[in-house]
């Protein structure tokens, strides 16, 4: 429903603004975006965590306690915003909050933030190659939010502004599996 979407967008913007303001005060706009991406990745990757944080039968304080325990190493201002999200039963907005924050962070930093997922930590050489390639393509400064995820087996996954380049080994293997599963058997199909 348009009304709902507008409300959701407004709510997400409020959380993102609050987070951006806190980050601006610490001069850690980009660093906070990386932490936000880490939280989003963790919540997306764990069904139990996602279900627990969204479970209204569990008291809000208990859920926020779990959140603080799991993400104890995060920036306190980010943790405070996340706590409000959980206590107000808005954890489902986390992805939209991330998008809104990234959008504002890019405006504030005058750069494009690209999420990069690899199996190993990027070294400076790789980082520079990625930045050089996409700075040239996009015509703007590029900042990389790096994630290490062994589940992609190898290769690299890049995404920004809703566009995604999946050059991971796992997707290649998945393509190979699809081809092997559907390949014709000597023309008898």
């Amino acid at each position: 429903m348009p009304t709902d979407r507008i409300v959701i967008k407004k709510e997400s913007a409020i959380y993102a603004e609050a987070l951006l303001e806190a980050a601006r005060q610490q001069d850690a706009i980009f660093a906070l975006s990386g932490q936000l991406e880490t939280v989003l990745h963790a919540v997306r990757g764990s069904i139990d965590l996602r279900a627990t944080l969204a479970d209204r039968t569990i008291p809000a304080q208990t859920r926020s306690g779990i959140l603080r325990e799991v993400f104890a190493s995060l920036d306190p201002s980010l943790l405070a915003v996340l706590t409000v999200l959980v206590e107000r039963d808005d954890i489902a907005l986390l992805s939209r909050v991330n998008d809104a924050y990234v959008q504002r962070a890019e405006e504030a930093l005058d750069a494009v933030i690209i999420d990069v997922v690899t199996v190993i930590e990027l070294d400076d050489e790789l980082r520079e190659k990625i930045i050089a390639k996409y700075s040239a393509q996009l015509g703007r400064q590029v900042l990389l939010r790096e994630q290490v995820d062994p589940s992609i087996v190898g290769g690299i996954v890049l995404s920004t502004h809703g566009r995604r380049i999946d050059a991971s080994v796992v997707s290649q293997l998945e393509n190979a599996r699809t081809v092997l599963s559907t390949v014709s058997n000597g023309g008898e199909r």
Binding site: I114, T118, V119, I120, L122, D123, L126, K129, I130, K133, Y134, Q137, L138, P150, V153, G154, G155, I156, L158, S159, T160, H161, G162, R163, I165, A167, S168, V169, V170, L173, E174, A176, R177, T178, L180, S181, V183, N185, E188, R189
Partner: protein
Amino acid sequence: MKVFEAAKKKLALVPLAAGAALVAFPSLAFADEGAQPEAAQGGGGVELLVPNPLEFVPMLIGFILLWIILAKFAWPVITDMLDKRVTTIRDSLEKAESAKIESERLLEEHKTQLEDAKKQAAQIVADAKAAGEAVKADIVAAAQVEAQAAISKATAAIEAEKKAAIAQLQSSVADLSVSVAGRLIGQDLSDADHRRVIERYLAEAGSLNAN
């Protein structure tokens, strides 16, 4: 019939012959009477051969009277009886003849009917055989069609099962291959290998520019 006619004529001659015999030989009729006087008289000869008119005439008259009486009263009855008998026998013979003809006709008719019946029976048997052959052919044809349909159905089912089995096997092989390949790649690639892979994929990767 001619035999009866002849017998009838012969019977009509019997009284006449008897009368003629008596006239011709009167001494025979009176032989016993003539013999006694001759023996008594001790004579014989010609007298024995010549009838005595005193005896002969009354006897002739008597004979004629008897003949007339017989001819008047007995003979018509006898001839009528014989006629009736002849008629009866003739009728019987005619009836027998007609019966014989009728029986022969019936025999012929029965023979004809028997032949017809035989022909009909043969025709019925032939028809029954033909009908049986037709039914047999129909049953065999229907059975063949049914068998062919069953074979086709079974072949299609087998083919479908085969395809499903091949697809399942293919999918299993693909899953297993990919799983093994993923594990091998994950285990065997060093950091340097991963970097090379990233560089190569990065070089091949498309644009992130939405415009």
